[in-house]
Amino acid sequence: MDLITTALPALSDAFAMILQPHVIGYLVLGVCMGLAIGVFPGLGGIAGLSLLLPFMFGMEPLTGLALMVGMVAVVPTSDTFASVLMGIPGSSASQATVLDGFPMAKKGKAARALSAAFASSLFGGLLGAAFLTFFILAARPIVLLFKTPELLMITIFGLSMVGILAGRVAIKGIVAACLGLLVGTIGEGASAGALRMSTYDMPYLADGLKLVIVGLGIFAIPEIIALLRQDKAISDRAQLGGGWLEGVKDWWANKWLSVRCSLIGVMVGVIPGLGGSVVDWIAYGHTVQSAKDKENFGKGDVRGVIGPESSNNAKEGGGLVPTLLFGIPGSGSMAIFISGIALLGTGSIEVGPSMLKNNLDFTYAIVWLLALANVVGTLICIAASGGIAKLTSIRFALLAPFLFMIISFAAFQSRQDLMDLVALFSIGLLGILMRRFDWSRPAFLIGFVLSDPAETYANQAVQIANSRFRKGFGEGLEYVFSPIVIILIIITVTSVVVGLRQAKNIMAEGEVKSGSKRAPLIFLLAVLGYIIAAYWNAQLIPDYSSADRVFPVFVGTIGIIGGVILFVQMMLKPETHALFSDREAQEADINIFGLWPTLAWFAGLLALTAMFGFIIALAVFLLGFMTYRAGKSPVFAGIYTAAGISFICGMAWLLNRDFPAGWLQTAVDLPWPLK
């Protein structure tokens, strides 16, 4: 093979292209913009790239690439801030970081967690680029080996991570995952267009729920509400741990873990069709499984930060393979990236199968721009982490309304519909209750994320396999049980067996005491009720759309069996058993405010928005919250409100977005931003 002879000259060309002052300048500009956008939970590469697109037309290809790559590369770096400091997953790539990062912040080790995360991100990004430099030349045939059965097996492997994250009562974790899978099936089925748990009278549901809303609802809202009820700062003790240097040392002590998780990140990223939303969970699962002492996971173990953060930046590099070599975007931001590339220059860079042959130098330039952006982004983030970490010592009542404003805005970007906010609030309520009764939220989220790929790949694999079997039994077997599938089955089975054995020791969300029997039982019945309803609803799908029926019925059956087992256990076991975990009982002493009064504030924001539109509602909400809940002077509340409103308006103006409209807006024509 003449890999080296073609690769080396192209590589040196690429470096000559990158290492020009103006290219670096645009890259840094892109990095700064990416950091600024990624910091806000729920906003990521898609929002940032849409902001850049109008400038891409006819731009010199290299500078345009530098700008876009700089932007995309650092979003998974900067969204770590929200994950660690606020317990809010900044984007789908940092969901798993929350599990250990946030407890560290609560213990006053925010700076340490952040710098460990950034060091891991940087390393992951660089390792990913180095790996890609060689792999990309051989990638095409390897990627093509991953057919539908292989993709299905990887999805199932991802689902098997539920085993590790299931919590103390494994069946609860499994039922939570089933619930997530079922929530993921809401809407039009992908195979035959049958409706599941929705009607065309509510078009919002027919499209299904979006990850950004479910992610924010299930993690962010419960944390915000919980912290607000305690009415103190996130970190209840003074900053300790010596700041950022400590975190870098932590990373160095776990460098091999970081290597392994980076490789996981690149490899999952390389496979088209899976996207990166599970890569952090797989990395987290691997981190836990490979650790000798596991009792600290979920309570602030730095390895739980290093693992997922090493993987998520590496994944961006891996994601370039399907994007550049096949023209198939691995994620939403990559799709915009492709359309941005098409606008550059005279459109001479054609993403797709000819990319390696015609534009190998540009391919390498993109790979190494990505790595360089990681370096620049990480340095900026580490420099800023000490200061930003101080946010954790601010009284939370002052942060919460601002956070609520941001996540509402982010959620609204998903469909630009008031229902976005309703969905956010409803999922948030589910998240609050799951947190309270110690049902594994990670298991739910993994189920939700993998619901669509699991169903689609399963249906497709069955269909194609049937066709192969019609041609010949041997051909069918060969298709279904390829060597890759068999290896994946072995890995998955091992991981499930080992995981379930260890799950009892791993409290991904900390320890929870048990309370009385009644409340956990009611919640179980509600969950079971939904699962039965979803099962029943799926059973009604007629035969000609059976492809949309099989999956929810299958998952529903498992969920119902699990739920009934739980119910029977609850009847038999004493109320001190872990089944009856109830955070209300545990946190009774530290909660100053009740759940419902706290929640009522946000329900109020929602109701006001439905009436007067978001901006007016927000003004009333911020003023009221600051005056009555936070107990600040009217002057302070006024300034806070003005600052908040101008911030959100500035952001919307920059991203060219509208706000949710209410009843008032249908009656009267108002100017932006009120419209």
């Binding site: 037309f57 057919k147 267009g193 096949f326 098409a342 606008l343 000819s354």
Partner: protein, 364 residues
């Protein structure tokens, strides 16, 4: 006649001669300092986004007063959400335009109950066409070269499809007319995924729109792993299907159908295919002003798009991004709109019936 009316008449005459033929008589509107919102009823990641992102900066330069043109994405309910929204908008000052696509036209033609919009109310200012190419793996193409379509009619075909009611309706119906036994595998997210399925050897028949064919399949053809079969064709000025200008060497589906026993290029089935082909390809993407738009605004936008087409570099910059297809304005766009949104009742009934029988799709 007073002096003022004379000057006015003169002014009108002047503007009329300056304005484009189709809508002579308008004053044009000035959009200086304004922001034009271009609603795309799809997400940021689709083909319509690519198309709008290509035109937006050019449109900004070409409109009087060089307003900012921003593309606003409003996905949902297979694009009917954004279209319904646009239907409710009243014409104000010409700062709101809408980009529709084949996926917006099909539910309208098929009588999808979610459709609350009416193409007849809107004012078309640009219609962009595209084409499509069907291709096969080399072994099957070889068999067919030897024995015609009947040599592969016994094959088990697998096709990665986005859904029978989408643009895929056109190729699915085409293959059925040729007597091929094609099983669509639903649930893919875009045509790119369909091509990947083909490349992995799981699907053994596929089609791509022209620009995707050029970027994604042409290299495979070069490498010998795919063989082009036919293009869907293009429309001439009289509405006849002719060879696609981007692929002049490829037979059209009509030619292939003519040569195949049992495939008729007349009758209800053919009319239905042609009607939906026209709605889905030669007039795939259109730009509209809302109902009640003033003649001035229509003239202004028409002129702007004509100015874009007249750019010296337009052929070069559009070829890669849009393919070599007509970008129609004025009367041409009107005709395109007509042919894309008016389907004979029998053709519609045939397709609705076929979708129900073949794929169990009911549009209720």
């Amino acid at each position: 006649m007073t002096i003022s009316t004379t000057t006015r008449a003169l002014a009108i005459g002047l503007t009329a001669s300056l304005a484009t033929g189709a809508y002579a008589g308008g004053h044009g509107i000035d959009l200086e300092g304004k922001t034009v919102e271009w609603i795309i009823p799809f997400s940021e990641t689709g083909g319509s986004a690519k198309w709008a992102n290509f035109y937006a900066p050019l449109l900004s330069e070409a409109l009087p007063g060089t307003p900012t043109v921003v593309v606003k994405f409003m996905p949902g309910a297979g694009s009917t959400k954004g279209a319904n929204f646009f239907q409710e908008q009243e014409y104000d000052d010409g700062t709101l335009i809408f980009g529709s696509s084949g996926s917006t036209q099909f539910p309208y033609l098929l009588g999808d109950p979610r459709v609350k919009y009416e193409y007849g109310d809107w004012n078309v200012v640009l219609a962009s066409g595209t084409g499509g190419v069907a291709y096969l793996p080399p072994d099957l193409a070889g068999k067919m070269a030897d024995g015609g379509v009947s040599a592969i009619s016994g094959e088990d075909f697998i096709y990665g499809s986005q859904g029978a009611t989408r643009l895929d309706l056109v190729p699915l119906l085409a293959w059925e007319m040729l007597g091929l036994n094609v099983e669509p595998v639903f649930g893919i997210k875009g045509r790119g995924d369909g091509r990947l399925m083909f490349e992995r050897g799981e699907a053994n028949i596929d089609y791509q729109t022209s620009s995707s064919f050029l970027s994604g399949v042409a290299p495979l053809v070069e490498a010998g792993t795919a063989v082009p079969w036919f293009s869907f064709g293009a429309l001439d000025a009289d509405g006849n299907i002719v060879r696609d200008p981007t692929f002049p060497d490829m037979p059209t589906f009509k030619e292939v159908c003519d040569m195949t026993d049992g495939c008729e290029t007349s009758g209800t089935q053919w009319d239905a295919w042609k009607a939906f082909f026209v709605a889905g390809f030669p007039a795939q993407k259109m730009v509209f002003l809302p109902a009640g738009a003033s003649n001035d605004a229509i003239v202004t936008y028409t002129a702007a798009f004509e100015e874009i087409k007249a750019r010296a570099d337009f052929a070069e910059i559009s070829a890669k991004r849009l393919g070599v297809y007509p970008q129609m304005t004025g009367d041409e766009a009107q005709v395109a709109l007509q042919s894309a949104t008016a389907v004979p009742a029998e053709a519609k009934d045939f397709v609705v019936n076929w979708l129900g029988e073949r794929y169990g799709v009911t549009l209720e």
